[in-house]
């Protein structure tokens, strides 16, 4: 009892005395964002308007990251079920009275417009990690089923908006916690087998345009001016960039607007065209060391909750990068997942940075424990 209170006191002291911060993460993230801003400026045909808004978002996101970094992991853990439940509530509200944009209901207007599905990108892994925190690992079947339900509810609600991309990300974040918790491969195999019939079920749930995207991936040339146009043009952009690229603001596919969604989902192709294979490798390298740092923080975390959350956040970030790049080079269907830290867009940027804030918090927590 005494020890415990002392620990809390220490935490409080530390709170006041030191500023919690991870220099390595901060620098690599900043570099990525900086590169992203340059690319976005070219992708948007040198629109200062786009540039200013993106920089503004990055600043907000950095502030959010630093604030979250100051929150002790203990408190994050205790907040987990509440953020999850709050998220579920808001998602239900979206379906009930949300605002639609581009054919989907994703937005909720409570003073500021935001997408509750973003909360779940963090809420789900937090909730799963919170649930497993007290349990003996690896989880047993009963726990597994409970976790699957925790993941399934928000995924279903988001998919219904419909927002397949975010739904997949939320699902991935939750399942990754499960994987990291050491769930038996027997279960993983069974889940995999279960995935086959459920993919048919998913096909039934898909909107026509989503099905079209899958079909188009299989044969993009079948509809070169329609759904296949994006993939064809993005491959031309990437391929014509070569090793060294055409130079900043010099990509013909980008500047002449042949490349669709060049500010958002297809910005990776802008890097490919203007900076070539070298540019692409650079940004991938930055991503990999960010992920690597995240995984180091996870393995060094002082408690199970921190470990699982940090691991999941890092791997989800990888998942982001992989799905987006694989989509742009034509290996996966177009699922509307932006390139993290680079694509133009506000909400997901803030969510990502809050995630990094949590990583920093988890890291600081370890140091505290180590000092003790």
């Amino acid at each position: 009892m005494i020890a415990k209170s002392k620990e809390i006191n220490l935490t409080n002291d530390q709170n006041i005395k030191s500023f919690k911060f991870d220099g390595f993460l901060f620098i690599t993230i900043s570099l990525t964002c900086l590169m992203g801003v340059f690319i976005l400026y070219s992708a948007s045909n040198e629109s200062t308007d786009v540039l200013i808004r993106q920089v503004y978002r990055i600043i907000i996101a950095f502030v959010a990251m630093i604030i979250v970094a100051q929150i002790p992991t203990e408190i994050l853990r205790k907040l987990s079920p509440w953020s999850y439940l709050g998220g579920i509530l808001l998602l239900s509200l979206v379906l009930w009275l949300g605002e639609s944009g581009q054919g989907a209901q994703r937005w909720l207007n409570i003073g500021i417009r935001f997408q509750p599905s973003e909360i779940m990108k963090l809420g789900v892994p937090m909730m799963v990690a919170w649930y497993l925190h007290e349990k003996r690992l690896p989880p047993n079947l009963r726990e597994l089923i409970f976790i699957l339900i925790i993941i399934a509810i928000p995924s279903f609600l988001i998919a219904k908006q419909p927002d397949l991309g975010t739904s997949i990300l939320v699902m991935a974040a939750g399942l990754l916690v499960l994987f990291l918790s050491g769930i038996s491969f027997r279960y993983i195999l069974s889940l995999g087998l279960l995935a086959i019939p459920s993919s048919f079920l998913l096909w039934e749930f898909m909107k026509d345009y989503q099905r079209q995207r899958v079909l188009t991936l299989l044969n993009p040339d079948s509809d070169p001016l329609g759904a296949g146009y994006n993939i064809i043009q993005s491959k031309i952009a990437m391929g014509s960039g070569g090793i060294f690229g055409k130079g900043w603001k010099n990509g013909s596919q980008v500047q002449l607007e042949f490349l669709p969604e060049k500010n958002t989902d297809f910005i990776f192709a802008v890097i490919g065209e203007e900076f070539g294979l070298l540019g692409v490798l650079t940004i991938l390298f930055l991503y990999l060391i960010i992920i690597g740092r995240g995984l180091v923080i996870a393995t060094q975390a002082s408690d199970l909750y921190g470990r699982l959350l940090a691991g999941s956040l890092s791997l989800t970030f990888f998942f982001y990068v992989f799905v987006n790049t694989a989509m742009v080079v034509g290996l996966m269907p177009i699922v509307g997942i932006p390139l993290p830290l680079v694509s133009y867009g506000g909400t997901s940027m803030v969510t990502l940075m809050v995630g990094f804030g949590m990583l920093m918090s988890i890291n600081s927590n370890r140091k505290l424990v180590a000092k003790k």
Binding site: M238, S252, T299
Partner: protein
């Protein structure tokens, strides 16, 4: 409890590390797949995609060749290209399109009625593509716009080449005019040589010589974005190809502008045609149809209303009567039939027939009238031609027979194409027993009746010929049987080195007549028509040269047996057509002419003076 917890803790940590390592391996595997793909796209297939990206942004714009110029035989310009100014509107550069159009209309630069159609066009067009809102501005329009230009941003004055016909009405049918490419044209045209907004030859020489006049378009490559908007080049690294257009060939027509103008003036807007031809080579010296029209309106703003008015005009000004109009040749064929009668022995140089003013077939009471009701009395072939006695020809008609009439008229090129370099020429009709057999379905209609031969002998009945064919046949009379294919194109000229390529005349088979005297008898009778006691002696007065001719006056409606033809009671459109054919000089002919005046009533009185005037002009008197 506590020990178990610690033990679990370590095991959990190990398990986590284990799983993290698996994750990293899987992650590296996935990222390698992406890297392999990147290598494939950016290194292996790089060239392929560079080419694709190049193809994406390079657009081609045709540069149109200047159209060839059309000259008359003496090198006077009949059709040329002139710069005209038009107003173009670029939608994205105009703030308030409605307001701008309204203000242009207030300045009188565009029609109030055309505003709606302009707006529809703007709506259909891409935002950055100029839309033509007014063509062919006059000098005062240009001045008006220039003064107000600052108030019309996004509306520009653009120069453009338009076709111009300096002698408009006088050459309209022979030269023709241009018009927009229609769906039917697209089938015939080589599409790659044409811009959709280009105009092509619609009639006359402009149509017939389209391929020569048009030239070969060149192209300019330019950089365009995904929506086709032209983008200025940022770097010099891109090589843009360019090919200059090859201008169309110039064309020299055989017509003489002075004769065109004179014939147009003499016809004076009456319905009719004049064709003059050089009998020694078949060159068309003049080809005029009347009433005529101003072809320049087709280059400018021809509204649908204006076009419809031209099309529905009862006098059919757009219709080229000289090659498309078919008329009963009437008495103009008498010299040919006289020649035929002599050659086959249906008559001889001295045989006489008595003309009482009418003729009846043996055993039939039907009277075929002569135009001279009192009759010509006892008359030979020479006088029958010069006085145009119908009864003489009625008398010998069944001795010649319809099929031999056909044979000789055919030899003179009637009832067949002259192959003049104009589109749509009509072949007319020279009947025969075989023709009637094929033409009609009912058995009784297939039979050729002797009475039909009687009226065929004075060029009436089924018989039809174009003014061009009549001039052509007259030319063959002038040369005493030497025939040439009608020719309208004198030469083509390379517009760059000005090298002329003359077109050869095509001589056709001679008309074989056994006795040269027969030619001279007929020609002499024709000479008498104009310069003796013949029907058109007034037209031949006081000429310093010798000429020959033959009149024709053909019924438009048939007059009943007991009726009198009273011209004062008939509507103008039922009045007789006036025809005249002529050539001169008599011994070494240089020109053959045919003249037709619809409802002109008298060939010798109305048509003959026109033929005379044309010959005077051409022979320099």
């Amino acid at each position: 409890m506590a020990s178990k917890h610690i033990k679990d803790h370590r095991k959990e940590k190990e398990l986590f590390l284990n799983r993290t390592i698996i994750s990293i391996l899987v992650g590296l595997l996935l990222i390698s797949v992406v890297l392999i793909r990147l290598y494939q796209l950016q290194v292996v297939e790089n060239e392929f995609f560079v080419e694709k990206a190049h193809g994406n942004r390079i657009n081609i714009r045709a540069t149109l060749p200047p159209r060839g110029i059309i000259y008359d035989r003496n090198g006077r310009i009949l059709a040329e290209n002139k710069t005209a100014f038009q107003l173009e509107l670029i939608p994205e550069q105009v703030k308030d399109i409605d307001d701008s159009l309204m203000r242009l209309s207030n300045l009188g630069l565009i029609d109030n009625e055309s505003i709606n159609s302009i707006k529809t066009e703007i709506r259909k067009s891409q935002q950055f593509k100029p839309v033509t809102i007014r063509t062919s501005l006059t000098d005062s329009d240009i001045a008006e716009f220039a003064v107000n230009m600052p108030n019309f941003s996004g509306i520009n004055l653009q120069p453009r080449l338009i076709r111009s016909y300096p002698y408009s009405e006088a050459t309209s049918h022979v030269v023709g005019y241009l018009g927009a490419i229609s769906k039917n044209d697209l089938i015939k045209l080589n599409r790659s040589s044409y811009d959709p907004n280009e105009k092509i030859g619609k009639t006359g020489s402009e149509l017939f010589n389209e391929d020569h006049l048009h030239g070969v378009p060149g192209f300019n490559q330019f950089i365009a974005n995904a929506r086709g908007r032209e983008i200025p080049i940022k770097t010099d690294s891109i090589f843009l190809e360019k090919k200059l257009p090859e201008p169309g060939s110039n064309i020299y027509l055989t017509v003489d502008l002075e004769l065109q103008r004179l014939a147009t003036e003499l016809l004076g807007g009456r319905k009719g045609a004049v064709v003059a031809i050089d009998p020694n080579n078949g060159e068309i010296l003049s080809l005029v149809s009347s009433p005529t029209f101003n072809p320049n309106i087709f280059s400018n703003t021809l509204t649908t209303d204006q076009f419809n008015e031209l099309q529905s005009n009862e006098d059919q000004p757009l219709f080229n009567r000289a090659v498309l109009g078919t008329y009963s040749p009437g008495s103009t064929i008498k010299p040919i039939l006289g020649l035929a009668a002599l050659e086959i022995g249906a008559t001889n140089l001295t045989r006489r027939h008595v003309c009482k003013g009418y003729y009846s077939l043996p055993g039939n009471s039907h009277r075929y009238r002569d135009w001279l009701h009192t009759g010509h009395g006892s008359i030979n072939l020479h006088a029958a031609i010069s006085q145009s006695c119908d009864v003489y020809f009625y008398e010998i008609s069944n001795e010649i027979g319809i099929d031999r009439m056909h044979q000789y008229l055919d030899a003179f090129g009637l009832g067949q194409k002259t192959n003049i370099e104009l589109t749509g020429e009509r072949i007319g009709l020279i009947p025969s027993t075989k023709w009637k057999q094929n033409m009609f379905r009912r058995e009784e209609d297939k039979i050729w009746y002797p009475g039909e031969t009687v009226i065929a002998s004075i060029g009436q009945g089924y018989m039809l010929a174009t003014p061009l064919q009549l001039a052509n046949a007259t030319a063959a009379l002038a040369t005493r049987g030497k025939r040439f294919q009608a020719k309208l194109i004198l030469a083509t000229e390379n517009p760059i080195n000005k090298e002329k390529k003359y077109k050869n005349s095509t001589q056709l088979n001679d008309i074989e007549i056994s006795n040269q005297k027969y030619w001279e008898e007929v020609v002499s009778a024709m000479h008498n028509v104009m310069q003796g006691n013949g029907t058109a002696q007034n037209a031949g007065l006081d000429a310093p040269y010798r000429m020959a001719g033959k009149s024709g006056t053909v019924q438009v409606i048939s007059v009943g047996q007991e009726e009198e033809y009273d011209e004062t009671l008939l509507e103008e459109r039922f009045l007789d057509h006036a025809l005249f054919v002529a050539f001169a000089p008599l011994e070494n002919p240089k020109i053959a002419v045919s003249v037709i005046i619809e409802n002109g009533q008298s060939g010798s009185r109305v048509a003959a003076p026109i033929a005379r005037a044309i010959m005077d002009k051409y022979l320099g008197y």
